[in-house]
Amino acid sequence: MKTWNNKAWFMVVPVVILVAFSAVIPLMTVVNYSVQDTFGNNQFFWAGLEWFNEIVNSERFHDALGRQFLFTFLILAIEIPLGIFIALHMPTGGWGRPASLVLMSLPLLIPWNVVGTIWQIFGRSDIGLLGHTLQLMGIEYNYTQNTLDAWVTIIVMDVWHWTSLVALLAYAGLQSIPEAYYQAARIDGASRWAVFRYIQLPKMSSVLLIAFLLRFMDSFMIYTEPFVVTGGGPGNSTTLLSIDLVKMAIGQFDLGPAAAFSLVYFLIILLLSWVFYTVMTNIEKRGD
């Protein structure tokens, strides 16, 4: 069975080279740094797992990790139901359909640091629409000095930015449900909630799984937007994992610990994604 498969391998070689240079080799470099110590003068000493130990046991890491979990949890808890809700109410025909699809896509098209900048300015009490309005209404709002305000800002910003993705994916899932299901549900006397719970949600489940995993990974790795708005502050109250990592690597130039940090970070995301994926596909399969 040789002849026709071999050509396919040649097609793949350019991609392999590209991925190797842009991902694999840098990753190996990071691994290299994570197990060595250097004073910057190109002299390296083997440090073994010392950095890993330091990172995993450091309070700073634990705090950032905690903040990150909180952030991701809030994001998912808001965006997934909100996205589904929007998808359920988007028009399915007529001119409303393309109009709503375009409207939904707009936030996704904006470069991320521009998103951050938009909200940063939006929230300022002197020149920002939101900030100024709140000030006029007598509400105290300062995201640079108030921790709660900062958190609310970055969360609202992320919801504004990314809920559309969930909505569009859920909408696509909904469109694939044949009309017969809705008709049968009407005949069975099902309530709106029952239709949602027993027909729409199960049929959307595979699409929602993708949406969930995407949002989980992206929000866990988020850097640009919150950094532009709050810079990790006030103090370090919005210093999420990636922001902390960058501070360490570039700010303090602690390459060893930073490299170890990145690897731990990478492994956490990998592990959690795998766990979620397995759990969710098993929930689906358990019925068969």
């Binding site: 049968a184 009407r186 019925g287 068969d288």
Partner: protein, 364 residues
């Protein structure tokens, strides 16, 4: 169980229909008797699904009324019409078990769990689903899922009618028998009013007490399977029912004889002058015999035999008579001579048609 009346019912999908061709369903006045099994038979696009959806309430007719037991339900939504419908594709709630699927309609109507349990178990036994009640509906075969769909329809006590929209489409041919039998048995046991839409004449004829044949939005004939077979009211019915369909030949009819291309064919009845432009005679292949010239007598038509197809329980002789196709069904065990080149029609089963519609004659 209810009697369903259609009064002056018609439907057009266009907001301002101009003429008959804009109507998907042309005017129909019809009573579906309580407890009978009906089949709506016709080719794609004849309006049968439209009619079914109007009865079930999924579609509002643009004209006319639908009444259940003299109560006007035309504007009543589906949920309140007490009908059950089985669709082309099995519709089951994937996340629920078979038991919960069957219980769903009852629970939606607020029945007590005890009542629900009793009904579900009874229906499950009737449909041979008792063994799989605990399983999730998702993993079952297509015919099991269709049975569950059917069960969901039956589980409610007061069902006015059960409607079927080409339900055997996705079922394996081997299992079609089994499901058809189940439906027939259910009907004979419980006497629900059942309306079954299909384009398959075997399904229609074997399921129904009365078959309604539709074509292009019109009801062409309604009758028992036997009537439709032996006396099709329209050449379309003759063509559509029976495999192969009825043979139709242009003819001139005078008294009790028909003249086809110079040959005389005796008829069982006498006909006066026939109004209409196109006069034809129709005879089913089952009532035509293929014989040798010597055995034909005067009324045999000369034909060329193109092919003889053997399908086991009978043979089909495809012959040609002056450029027209004439099919003959030869029962198993009847010998056919190689020299057979004449066909004889059984006069009692030759019908006369004017402009497509059957003409009644007087007994000769």
């Amino acid at each position: 169980m209810a009697e369903i009346q259609l009064k002056q019912l018609a439907h057009s999908y266009l907001p301002h229909p101009a003429g008959p061709h804009d109507y998907a369903l042309k005017r129909i006045d019809h009573v579906w008797e309580d407890g009978k099994a009906y089949a709506l038979l016709g080719p794609s696009g004849c309006g049968k699904s439209t009619l079914l959806n109007i009865i079930s309430g999924l579609l509002q007719p643009s004209e006319g009324q639908v009444c259940f037991d003299a109560q006007d339900v035309t504007n009543l939504p589906t949920e309140q019409r007490r009908i059950a419908q089985v669709f082309q594709f099995p519709v089951v709630y994937d996340t629920m078990s078979v038991y919960d699927n069957l219980a769903f309609p009852l629970r939606n109507h607020g029945h007590a769990e005890g009542v629900v349990r009793e009904r579900v178990l009874k229906i499950a036994e009737m449909l041979d689903l008792s063994a799989v009640l605990k399983q999730k509906a998702r993993g079952l075969t297509a015919d099991a899922k269709q049975t569950i769909s059917l069960g969901r329809g039956l589980v409610r006590e007061s069902v006015a009618a059960i409607l079927f929209d080409e339900p055997l489409t996705v079922i394996d041919p081997h299992l079609k028998h089994t499901l058809r039998m189940q439906l027939k048995r259910l009907h004979q046991q419980f006497n629900h009013t059942m309306i079954y839409v299909t384009h398959d004449q075997t399904e229609a004829l074997s399921f129904a007490d009365r078959v309604v044949v539709m074509y292009d939005g019109d009801v062409v004939q309604m009758g028992s399977p036997q009537e439709l077979f032996e006396r099709p009211a329209h050449t379309f019915v003759g063509y559509f029912i029976g495999s192969p369909g009825m043979n139709v030949l242009d003819a001139r009819v005078e008294g009790n004889r028909a003249y086809v291309d110079g040959r005389t064919i005796p008829l069982a009845q006498g006909y006066d002058a026939i109004a209409g432009e196109k006069v034809e005679i129709g005879v089913r292949p089952e009532f035509v015999r293929l014989v040798r010239k010597e055995d034909a007598g005067e009324s045999g038509l000369p034909v060329t035999v193109k092919r003889i197809e053997d399908i086991g329980r009978f043979k089909i002789a495809r012959t040609e008579f002056f450029g027209r196709e004439l099919n003959v069904v030869i029962p198993e065990g009847t010998a056919v001579s190689d020299h057979a080149n004449r066909v004889l029609f059984d006069a009692r089963h030759v019908n006369v048609y004017a402009d497509g519609w059957i003409v009644e004659g007087e007994a000769a």
